[in-house]
């Protein structure tokens, strides 16, 4: 195995063009596990740790430009206001040591349905900025996940950063695991209210071959909120709307039975999380909510 250590982004792109099978590695929290278990034996490892800009972020007018290697701990500490859903998701990632190393680029690169960041990214809405020696392009998150552990990257492309919409409303994130910390998702749910566009977006993790949005649930809820004038009145969402939203979210899941949980439990849990997180975000939106302390680091 060759270990490539580009000193700059341009060098990295050139290396990836020359060696399309090279596996990029930054925090190594995923890649190294795969290598240690001998699940993959890449010809080349492309070390991105010398490229400082990948660990930087920029808060713009509309978006946060989040470098692929910005560690989860930095997201939790610095981007709570702009990216509340992703900050909550970051808090559920593994242990403090892993959160200091791992970043969103790794989750996107691996594209495992169990990646903790995906539901938050789907709900917030974002574009993934990828680049190769041929140029750069923005891939909408909805088009990013193409199959089980597959994404829309070309062989010569690297993930540079993610353009995530700054929160214009409350966001929430829930994940079920059979332990109270440091646990891989049995399933997860993200939700973001977008009052500016009067829409609600969602994301489901570990309950389908890829991370997905609960589209039917979103469409139903968007219509119901519009019809009932809820965005203006900020009145309590009627239980029947919340219930139907939960049922539709549950119905969008397409999970499997595995050692971590049964398909029917996952479907059930997605529905419960959808109902609860809708309740929390809507309560915040109504301006009366109490926010939770998601674990004081």
């Amino acid at each position: 195995m060759d270990f490539l250590r580009p000193a700059s982004w341009e060098e990295a792109l050139a290396a990836k063009a020359e060696h399309p099978t090279a596996v990029p590695i930054a925090g190594g929290t995923d890649v190294m596990v795969e290598i240690n278990f001998d699940h993959r034996r890449p010809e080349y490892l492309l070390d991105l740790n010398r490229i400082g800009e990948l660990s930087e972020w920029e808060v713009g007018e509309e978006n946060v430009l989040l470098g692929a290697s910005v560690p989860y701990s930095a997201i939790m500490e610095n981007l709570r206001t702009e990216l509340p859903g992703l900050a909550l998701a970051s808090h559920t990632v593994a242990s403090p040591q892993i959160r200091n190393r791992g970043g969103v680029g790794g989750n996107l690169g691996t594209a495992s349905p169990a990646g903790d960041a995906h539901p938050a990214l789907l709900a917030a809405d974002c574009e993934v900025e990828v680049e190769s020696v041929r140029g750069s392009r923005l891939i909408p998150i909805d088009a990013f996940y193409t199959g089980v552990k597959r994404n829309a990257l070309a062989a010569d492309e690297l993930i540079k950063r993610v353009h995530i919409k700054k929160a214009d409303g409350p966001q929430q994130y829930s994940k079920v695991g059979t332990r109270n910390a440091m646990v891989i998702a049995v399933c997860a749910f993200g939700i973001a209210l977008h009052p500016e566009t009067r829409t609600v977006r969602t994301g489901i993790g570990s309950a389908a071959p890829t991370p997905i949005r609960a589209k039917a649930a979103e469409e139903f809820l968007n219509a119901a909120l519009e019809e009932g004038g809820f965005w203006e009145s900020r009145k309590i969402i009627t239980p029947s709307i919340a219930k139907q939203f939960a049922e539709l979210a549950s119905g969008s899941a397409n999970p499997i039975d595995d050692v971590r949980g049964t398909a029917s439990y996952r479907r059930h849990a997605v529905g419960i999380m959808a109902r609860r997180t809708l309740g929390w975000t809507w309560e915040s939106y109504r301006g009366e909510g109490r926010s939770s302390i998601e674990g004081v680091a």
Binding site: A181, Y265, I272
Partner: protein
């Protein structure tokens, strides 16, 4: 009296000594372990060493048709590739039955059984070479449970058994069967106003010690081997290793290296023989370290069990009778299954007075992973079931569950179903009273002025509830565990004590083969030596096979047994020192003729405190050294038909009250508090006692709500051999654990001590289950509880 070797208790003649027994001395390995500087067995290195690697079976039950090692052997850097055909001598080993192949031959009997072995100059080369070995299997039908094991046409996991249990078992796929009959359960059942029955399932728990199996085998010039390993019992290993190497025991010199936890999982051999065989074959030192994945296949687990119970009681809550059948799955090789069966049977009644019982426990051979020793050893599974039964009975009688237990609680003098009288304190009712009397933790501890603190809620940091669906439950349980090796086993420990003057100060050297696996034995040993010899400087010699056996660090026996041996040997050293003193100084002071002289503060003193001489002057250049074996009271085998016999050395008792918050919609659990009360006999090191009780409690919690090795019943393959999917409690899963301990001395034990490490592992699990049942109203007959069980999905 000093000099006896049969375990008659000697009274504490020595008075308190600084750093002696009863003080919370800090452990010498504590800081090193916390800061990462402690050298574990996986940290060893030797110049010119090779790395050993196993190749394990990918199927659970199959004939081995062929093995082709040629490609692996041809690789650069590979020094040896071995199969069973290449082994130098005896091909099987085992603690109780020699039924386990060093490397599989003929057939493989479980998923992950070692079949071939590689030595190479780099671990990765060794791994790749192992992957190039081609094995052709012809799969055989699987034995996975009692029904398939005992079916009329069942394939035999082991043909031609000739072990000591083979003559009496009802089927060759049953390792051992132990019935216990006392009174007349059928007759007594007629007096019952209520009867409750239950069928319970206990999942396969793993010891999950953090330091994987590892060690270093160094070939010696005399044709022997120096073996550095992390184990629980050096001399038991030695007995199994030497015949497989074709060497006399004295040519296999074993030294204990840093142990990263054990919990029973290191009582059996793992890589010891494999590394030694490679070292002898290549003439080079060989290191082996299992990774986490391999570790799940590298040691035995806790027996999963099916338990069928029936209890009856009169209206006023007096238990009339108990019938039970306990089926323990021993997996492919016996390990300690027979002893686990004996324990499960003899402790199946729990800490209760029930005169009429009909008990049967069996251990199966199957193609599931082999199971053996783990903290609690058969008593854990039984406690889970009989405590569920107590709650069922209380509910049916409309009685308080603690009151029902107290009403039937055993006490000193109670006769066990085996006919053995409980002749030491048995404060079962008092332990229950203590946990019940504690104030309950406040409700809704997650509520803060800023909202909900998710860390105090089920789901924790995963942020699944802010209080929605959360219901509190409270549950109780109490258990009984035997301490020490039972059923007539000639158990002893050996302590070699040397007292001499070094740099003008009397110094004691304590040399035993005791395995320090994290329990704190070395700390206690120094404390005992300080107390018994009245010196400050105590050196603990590394544990090795150059001294007699200390027995296993298991069954809660080491403080009792090796502690007892050290106390005994120190007493003999003391006698010798006084003899020397009398010889040298006897004529100077009449008190030398007094039998009651003590050693204190480096001096010989009368029991009134008058100083007769400095130890330095008594000993001068002379070293006093004693190596002596020490035994507890003998025990008896259980009768194979009636189960009668004084089988156990000592009993230990603990009670728990669990308080849980359950998210009833998502099926997630947060254990808020696990209060414990336990009788420890005598706390030689109170801090260590509390640590053991809390650790045992958390291990019990683990198997209540998350820990389980999941074996696919269709393939008998392990589905979750990693810490990603075999979950252990984190600190956020660990509740507050307030501990009350009683010190009711056992008159038969040194200092009155009672083994403490195991009892808390018993009652913790059923207490948590009881609390979850209390919160949800569900029956929950299986542990660990999974979210699916709580949500019906």
């Amino acid at each position: 009296m000093a000099g006896t070797t049969t375990g008659t208790p000697t009274n504490v003649t020595q008075k308190h000594s600084k750093g002696g027994i009863g003080e919370s001395m800090l452990r010498p390995d504590g800081t090193l372990k916390v800061t990462g500087e402690f050298a574990y067995s996986s940290d060893m290195w030797h110049e010119d060493m090779l790395w050993g690697q196993t190749l394990r079976s990918t199927v659970a039950h199959a004939e081995i048709v062929s093995i082709d090692t040629s490609e692996a052997l041809a690789m650069d850097g590979v020094y040896a590739v071995l199969t069973s055909d290449d082994l130098p001598a005896v091909k099987n080993y085992g603690m109780e039955f020699q039924d386990t192949p060093v490397l599989a031959y003929g057939k493989v009997r479980h998923h992950g059984e070692p079949v071939a072995l590689v030595a190479a100059d780099h671990p990765e080369t060794a791994r790749r070479a192992a992957a190039k070995i081609k094995i052709e299997y012809r799969e055989l039908p699987l034995i996975t449970d009692e029904a398939s094991a005992t079916a009329p046409d069942a394939i035999l996991v082991h043909e031609n058994r000739d072990d000591h249990h083979s003559g009496h078992v009802p089927h060759p796929n049953i390792v051992h069967r132990q019935p216990i009959i006392r009174g007349n359960a059928a007759e007594a059942a007629k007096k019952a106003d209520v009867i409750v029955k239950g069928e319970y399932t206990f999942g396969m728990q793993d010891q999950a010690f953090l330091g994987p199996e590892s060690g270093l085998a160094v070939p010696a010039e005399d044709g022997g081997i120096d073996l550095y390993v992390a184990t629980q019992w050096l001399h038991s290993d030695l007995k199994q290793i030497a015949p497989c190497l074709g060497l006399p025991e004295e040519k296999v010199r074993m030294t204990m290296s840093g142990v990263g936890g054990a919990f029973g999982g290191r009582e059996d051999i793992s890589m010891q023989i494999l590394a030694s065989v490679l070292a002898l074959r290549t003439g080079k030192p060989v290191k082996m370290v299992y990774n986490r994945y391999e570790s799940f296949f590298g040691h035995v687990h806790r027996h999963p069990a099916k338990l069928y119970y029936e209890h009856g009681a009169t209206k006023d809550g007096k238990i009339t009778h108990m019938k039970c059948k306990i089926v323990l799955d021993g997996g492919a090789y016996a390990s300690s299954t027979a002893s686990v069966v004996g324990n499960a049977a003899s402790l199946s009644v729990g800490p209760y007075v029930i005169d009429d019982v009909e008990i049967e426990a069996i251990g199966l051979y199957s193609n599931n992973p082999p199971c053996g020793a783990m903290r609690g050893f058969g008593a854990v599974q039984a406690c889970f079931a009989y405590e569920a039964q107590m709650d069922k009975l209380a509910a049916k009688l409309d009685m308080d569950p603690v009151e029902l237990r107290q009403k039937n609680a055993m006490s000193q003098g109670t006769i066990m179903p085996t006919g053995q009288p409980v002749d030491a304190p048995a404060p079962v009712a008092e332990l229950l009273r203590l946990v019940k009397a504690r104030p309950l933790p406040p409700e809704q501890q997650w509520t803060t002025t800023e909202g909900s603190d998710v860390r105090a809620l089920p789901g924790g940091l995963s942020n699944t509830t802010h209080g929605e669906g959360v219901v509190r439950g409270v549950g109780y349980a109490v258990g009984i565990k035997n301490v020490g090796f039972s059923e007539g086993f000639d158990d002893y420990s050996t302590a070699k004590i040397r007292l001499e003057v070094i740099n003008g100060e009397a110094v004691a050297l304590v040399h035993t083969a005791m395995a320090e696996v994290g329990q704190g034995g070395v700390t206690i040993h120094a404390q005992i030596a300080r107390t018994e010899l009245g010196v400050q400087q105590v050196t603990i010699h590394p544990a090795d096979t150059q001294v007699g056996s200390a027995g296993s660090t298991s069954a809660g026996r080491q403080t009792y047994m090796t502690g007892g041996a050290i106390k005994n040997s120190c007493g003999l050293v003391r006698e010798k020192v006084l003899e020397i003193g009398r010889r040298k100084f006897g004529s100077y002071h009449p008190a030398w003729a007094n039998a009651e002289l003590l050693l204190e503060g480096g001096k010989v003193v009368t029991d009134g405190g008058e100083v007769l001489a400095d130890l330095v002057d008594v000993l001068e250049d002379e070293a006093v050294e004693i190596e002596e074996e020490w035994r507890h009271r003998p025990t008896q085998a259980f009768d194979l038909v009636t189960g009668q016999g004084n089988g156990h050395v000592q009993y230990a008792f603990a009670a728990h009250r669990a308080v849980v918050e359950v998210d009833t919609e998502l099926g997630l659990v947060k254990v808020v508090e696990l209060a414990v009360a336990q009788d420890v006999g005598k706390a030689l090191n109170p801090l260590s006692v509390i640590g053991q009780i809390q650790g045992g409690t958390v291990q019990g919690l683990g198997v209540a709500v998350m820990e389980e090795i999941i074996v696919d019943p269709k393939t008998a393959k392990v589905r979750n051999p990693s810490f990603t999917d075999y979950l252990l409690p984190t600190i956020l899963d660990t509740p507050t654990i307030p501990v009350d301990y009683l010190e009711l001395a056992d008159p038969n034990a040194p200092y009155g001590v009672r083994g403490i490490g195991e009892a808390p592992t018993l009652s913790s699990t059923p207490a948590v289950l009881a609390a979850i049942r209390n919160a949800t109203g569900l029956e929950l007959n299986k542990t660990p509880v999974r979210p699916e069980h709580l949500t019906g999905t």
